[in-house]
Symmetry: C2
Subunit: 403 residues, 2 copies
Amino acid sequence: MVDVDNALNIIYENTKEADLEKKDILSCLNKVLAENIYSQDNLPPFDKSAMDGYAIKSEYTRGCGTEKSVKLEIRGIIRAGYYCEDELEVGQAFKIMTGAPLPKGADAVIEIEKVKVEGNILIISEEVDKGNNVIKLGEEIKVGELALTKGSNIRPVEIGLLASLGYSSIKVYKSPTVALIITGDELVDIDSELEKGKIRNSNEYSLKALIKNSGAEALSLGVVSDDKDNLKEKVKYALENADIVITSGGASVGDYDFVDDVLKEIGADVKFTSVAIKPGKPITFATYKEKLFFALPGNPSSIITVFEGFVKPAIRKIMGKQEEDMEEFPVILAEDFEAKIGRRKYVYVEIKVDNGKYYAYKVGSQCSNHLMTMSRANGIVIIPEECGNVKVGDVLNGKFIFR
Amino acid sequence: MVDVDNALNIIYENTKEADLEKKDILSCLNKVLAENIYSQDNLPPFDKSAMDGYAIKSEYTRGCGTEKSVKLEIRGIIRAGYYCEDELEVGQAFKIMTGAPLPKGADAVIEIEKVKVEGNILIISEEVDKGNNVIKLGEEIKVGELALTKGSNIRPVEIGLLASLGYSSIKVYKSPTVALIITGDELVDIDSELEKGKIRNSNEYSLKALIKNSGAEALSLGVVSDDKDNLKEKVKYALENADIVITSGGASVGDYDFVDDVLKEIGADVKFTSVAIKPGKPITFATYKEKLFFALPGNPSSIITVFEGFVKPAIRKIMGKQEEDMEEFPVILAEDFEAKIGRRKYVYVEIKVDNGKYYAYKVGSQCSNHLMTMSRANGIVIIPEECGNVKVGDVLNGKFIFR
């Protein structure tokens, strides 16, 4: 049995970043940039007005105020999108719209709300600073400068920035395909009647949802009966057609748990077969060539916990994403929680915030079968391996779930 | 000009939840449940073994320990998915697999690791409590009990829970369609050369990404020239074909900003035309029949700020989602920040966590044109309307962005 941190390290060591692909920018949303992006232009490409107003030479307004005004001739109007070739001459101003380029000779813009206009004459009664309401050529970024670094997350702002820099497609890390194999003769499909001894297949559905939210693609091979040869065929097919293979159930020590046998027979490199985590001890991690194999426990809430704890980090690394190290925060226990020393315990709770502090409340049985408990939870608190029972007022690390 | 809280209240008052639709559960991921879900079954549907082990009557082990053992005849094996009709008789045990139903007469399971087996004989050397490793019939939920409440978010755990309860489809709130109309004669497409006075259309791309991440559908009408009749036709089309219409640019007081004119001409009910927020003051909100209309500023970082601040909450309400009231938290300023009294200022920063506390660092110019600044930020700090400059060590509310 390895501890949680070791398990995660072993997984990271055996996980490589994906190959790259070039995609149109909107298809790259929530993926990770796999190249440095340099600006091909100056942004803005010209001195630009930040306001609707009047483009002037600031020195004309020197000394203006409540006592003194300056009158300028309004020579014309410059709209956004139109370039004015004329140069501002002494005593003149141009009306200018937000986003329009300043005419030659102008070095400031005064807002439309701050002036008086009489016919063709502009009256200014305040001093205007040089550069006022002007976004200078190259102020945001200059030609050749680094705009986005390899490894950046592509959020809506990066999509907009790439568009403004003229990048319609970029290189990103490919999303992995995750194959699912659900084992268990007790499982019937969602729409079936429950015969004696049977329960419904729920893990396939939770896993598909988890995979979708992690940004990967699911390839489900459905429910496979507890038969070794059949399982072996499915595992081989999955390893050929996916980057990661997950089995649900069949990884315990029972007489009908064949996953570890199959892994040996196909020559997979088994790295560990159990982790000191609760819920979710029986987790096998193996590699086969460059593919990753996770045999996860069959209990519905265990499988969600260990997917989030071990499979999702692997998916994130494949996709070039950073470790989520800012997720945990201190949580004050609002109640006592029972726990045994030995494994790291993930306790599903409701985290409420009060006056900037986080408090954890019970939401039901921590039995590893109970999705009902998890469905009432918005977070977990983590009871360390060396701790048993914890008391109201104790402070533990916690985090929100499904974020 | 209305303040941010008033603006948001006006938007909420005029926003209704969407109509319902019934969809298969996996298509409902990240949507909101629009009906109460009651359990049609007991979960588990039988007393179930939580471990691989031996099903016994606990009373046989009374007094067992290092000094005393009990020997039981192993009568057979019960696999998960198979129901045993036979009753456990005095002095007997059944081998039982995880998830299998207990045979009649058994009330506990002892783990496989804790016993000795000699041929057909099971040797137990410890006391086993009644109910040990047994998940009782209906322990998770009983027939007729409320499993999920109308308004619940459908996360991976809810998908799994619904599957386990036999619900293959559920009622959710429909996702709204958001139409986009981008105005500005200065805009050229992403792949075009930048002629003099032109910039690239980036808002269409950021908005499409924001809409996608909010769970809504985008319907882009592309860039519309600064021509009132043309704009009016597009606005009418958009109002007929979408639930929300967004225009980008054209909402200031300039001579070529026609949005407010168009709204008057078509008879829209204009609720406000500017908000005390920075970046992003010129925001028009109007309703037309049951449709929502947002005229947003054209500046690239303003439009993202006000989309997140005003449009996304409307989308969330339409989709039945709760207000995100847990998002803000106290942030300590690591540097001074300049600000003017009057509007509520959203300052883009890097938030770093240190020893459980959050600190805000500058990432560049807060000019409302600069996507570069926002692309270096992971959060904002909010400087209240009544505050001007703020100093290192001051504590403000902040939040992470694009979550």
